[in-house]
Symmetry: C2
Subunit: 184 residues, 2 copies
């Protein structure tokens, strides 16, 4: 059965710097009409930098929606026409000063599929070289380094709550972590 | 250093059924003024139901922002004054027909902290009893059952992209999965 919701009518409420809000009147499978409030977002790229000691770098920045400083992996919005890998390397350098000679795709994720079309492309950065950060003039953040297992523990304890950060840490831990040679 | 962004001025753009959009003019750490587009959302609850055979239940429903049917764990919006556990049990029953005698808190997550204040409360449901679903009249979805390890593989392959679903599956796998007795 096809559950498509066809747009009958659409009106734009707001087109801003980051997000656009449209209201769609849609026709449902049972022919009823419903309203959908939909955010359009340019998409984002997030990068988990991991060094050869299995340490990751997180940034802590103030996030107005929560009125709090939040721990996240480095991330930013896609510029028009920009490749996700390029955006990831750029944001990594800007926010942490790190350059990576290996950028490995982990996954795409949908943060909240009920009302936003945002797609976050998540990468792992390896072979890191530290350098100078080059933050935007309205970007204020601090950089912290954690052992991968410490970050897993911080997820368990609810200290790390950001979705892309939880996903990146757990994917690195669960799917990609280099196993030490078995000690028989 | 304190990176708070103080609201100097706020205007409401839209107050809808699900989301509210406000534009804040905020004062940054360097005294500059910046604009923040902020979505207010009532918050959500998501529940990963897992049976004694380590199978989980996912629902597939059309999500207008992506114009596609998406695989997700059962979830819904918090009603005003509703406890997350109550909301989780209600949505689980409505969407899948399942009732659970154990509802265990896994974590809270922030789907996209740059522009939305949404908090998703994630639970695991155990000791499941199957029954009749009771969907909202404008809710159309199908229920599927997967082995936990199959769901992990679907994350790896990019088939599961929903943030709360990735997080719930990986937390159950990584942090909570019952280990079979070692076979020596």
């Amino acid at each position: 059965m096809n559950f498509n919701e066809k747009t009958i009518n659409k009106r734009n409420i707001y087109s801003g710097k980051v997000i656009t809000l449209d209201i769609h009147n849609v026709q449902l499978t049972n022919a009823a009409i419903a309203e959908r409030e939909i955010i359009t977002h340019p998409g984002g790229v997030a990068v988990i930098p991991i060094n050869k000691d299995n340490e990751i770098y997180l940034v802590k920045q103030f996030r107005k929606p929560y009125e709090a400083e939040i721990l996240e992996i480095p991330a930013g919005k896609l510029e028009k026409g920009e490749l996700p890998e390029t955006c990831g390397s750029r944001e990594l350098k800007e926010e942490t000063g790190l350059t990576a000679s290996k950028i490995i795709f982990l996954t795409q994720m949908y943060p909240s599929p009920g009302y936003t079309d945002e797609v976050v492309h998540i990468y792992m950065a390896e072979d890191l070289v530290e350098g100078e950060a080059a933050r935007d003039e309205d970007e204020f953040l601090n950089v912290y380094k954690y052992k991968l297992d410490e970050a897993v523990q911080m997820i368990k304890e609810g200290i790390i709550k950001d979705a892309k950060t939880i996903i990146a840490v757990m994917m690195v831990k669960l799917l990609i972590e280099k196993q030490p040679a078995d000690i028989a």
